[in-house]
């Protein structure tokens, strides 16, 4: 019994410790973001790596999600003769929920993991010590460009995901299920307002912060050689995905 309680206690302590480390890293990243030198070239490099290079993955994920969403809702709505609402459901779901979450999860898997691996390898090969020895703050040089890239590029990827998801739904509904294209287009925008767009973009920016910072923190605190780098990479994806899904609920509640 004591062993079980001991284990639970240790888990909780570890969880609080990790949370503390994460928020400490967030605070230090914000502080160092406003101090010179501003390595703008590195910021753009990270934006390209995180944003532009993720376009093919986002293209496939969001487009097919839009398509399958139209297919599923059509099947359901047909039973109650409400097929005309398929377009509205697809657009609302994509804008408010699916595009930001899918983009967040996909980029966490693609980029968050590689950030953890890259920074983790730097840690175990003493490159982070070398940065410090060269009078360069690792938080400023490694964290700041990546977090800025995440916060700026995720909303752009989200807009792309919104458009592709809605277009995927349109393709299925019009070409496969023979819905009237004019009516579908009309219904797509009929119940939307700007808040639906904004809330999705705010979520995307927060998810961008979460996935980049989690990748950086996990990589930075790597211990134990190649095995440690592997562990950090896995933890980065799992932690970032969990935090994204948990914070999604609270953000939705706040932004509703």
């Amino acid at each position: 019994m004591i062993t079980i309680l001991d284990r639970i206690g240790r888990r909780f302590i570890a969880l609080f410790e990790q949370t503390g480390i994460w928020f400490d890293a967030l605070w230090r990243t914000i502080m160092w973001a406003f101090r010179p030198p501003y390595d703008v070239r590195e910021w753009f490099r990270q934006m390209v790596r995180l944003g532009v290079d993720s376009i093919p993955v986002i293209f496939l994920t969001t487009m097919f999600t839009g398509m399958v969403l139209a297919l599923q809702t059509f099947t359901g709505f047909q039973r109650v003769h409400a097929e005309q609402f398929v377009a509205s459901v697809v657009s609302l779901a994509m804008l408010r929920e699916l595009a930001p979450v899918l983009v967040g999860l996909m980029v966490a898997g693609r980029v968050g993991s590689s950030m953890a691996a890259e920074i983790g390898t730097m840690r175990v090969t003493e490159q982070i010590d070398a940065l410090k020895a060269l009078a360069t703050e690792p938080i400023q040089y490694l964290f700041v460009p990546r977090v800025i890239a995440g916060v700026i590029m995720l909303p752009f990827l989200c807009v792309l995901g919104d458009a592709l998801g809605i277009y995927g739904g349109y393709l299925v509904a019009v070409k496969l299920l023979n819905t009237n294209p004019v009516v579908y287009k009309q219904n797509t925008f009929q119940f939307l307002d700007m808040n639906d767009v904004y809330s999705g973009l705010i979520k995307a920016a927060v998810f961008g912060l979460i996935l980049t910072l989690t990748g950086c923190v996990r990589g930075y605190n790597t211990t134990g050689g190649a095995e440690g780098v592997g562990r950090a990479t896995t933890h980065a994806v799992v932690s970032a995905s969990l935090i994204i899904l948990l914070s999604d609920f609270f953000l939705t509640k706040i932004l509703f």
Partner: protein, 251 residues
């Protein structure tokens, strides 16, 4: 006061005492080599000197300034006086050799690209490695990586050079080449140098003074000649590389 002064340093990791009341001074322009077995705290000592680690207690004075009291920003200012070469070079593998050496110049000076290019070429010539600017660290041999690490360490013309196991993993000939290079750089730049190694041949070649670290403190120090003639049984066993003796009791 000496350029580097370590006073009563204690450092533990997970309850294991690594440094136990370590004190030593390094005079300006001197080349100190700290020797000792694996796990005796040599690397920890070097990291304390440059502020990569903080001691549990004790003080590290660099040019009369106590760096143990400094915050990260003040430490970064102090570190500009240092050049440090790491065990495996610790070159940034996402960059070319040129970018590695240019890195501190770009961050801490207002030099133009032409001036940076000239300085990088000069540093590479100092380590007898011209023409490798465009190569990636992964394309270099172990000895070349160390030398590029040296070039990066001297690019800002530091006052103090630190070498962490500069010859570990290199063959005897390349080790000797690297040792010659350290002596040459030391003489040319007139820096204060601290090297840690367990290679006695290298230690005797580059040192003005050799100090031996054992059980977390300095147990013997002196010129290479004095050190070689030491009657301390621990030093004798280490210098002669014998398996039997006080260092291996209980093994």
């Amino acid at each position: 006061m000496a350029t580097i002064s370590l006073q009563n340093l204690y450092k533990s990791f997970d309850g294991k005492k690594v440094l136990n009341d370590l004190s030593i001074d390094v005079e300006q322009g001197e080349s100190l080599v700290i020797v000792g077995g694996s796990g005796t705290g040599k690397s920890v000592t070097l990291k304390l000197i440059i502020g990569l680690l903080r001691p549990d207690s004790g003080h590290v004075f660099i040019a009369n300034e106590d760096i143990t009291e400094m915050n990260e920003e003040e430490l970064n200012r102090s570190r500009r006086h240092f050049g440090m070469s790491f065990q495996e070079g610790a070159l940034f593998d996402s960059m070319t050799v040129f970018e590695n050496i240019a890195f501190p110049l770009r961050r801490h000076t207002k030099m133009t690209e032409a001036e940076i290019r000239a300085r990088v070429e000069e540093c590479l010539e100092d380590v007898h490695l011209p023409g490798v600017e465009k190569k990636r660290p992964s394309e270099l041999s172990g000895g070349m990586r160390r030398r590029v690490g040296f070039a990066r360490a001297i690019s800002l013309k530091p006052d103090i050079l630190l070498f962490d196991e500069p010859t570990t993993g290199l063959d005897p000939v390349i080790s000797d080449v690297v040792a010659d290079l350290i002596v040459e750089m030391d003489q040319k730049l007139g820096t204060t140098t601290v090297t840690i190694t367990h290679d006695m041949k290298v230690a005797f070649k580059i040192a003005d003074r050799v100090a031996m670290l054992c059980n977390g403190k300095i147990i013997e120090q002196g010129t290479p000649e004095e050190f070689q003639e030491s009657q301390n049984p621990i030093v004798r066993q280490f210098v002669e590389g014998r398996s039997e003796g006080p260092l291996t009791e209980g093994f």
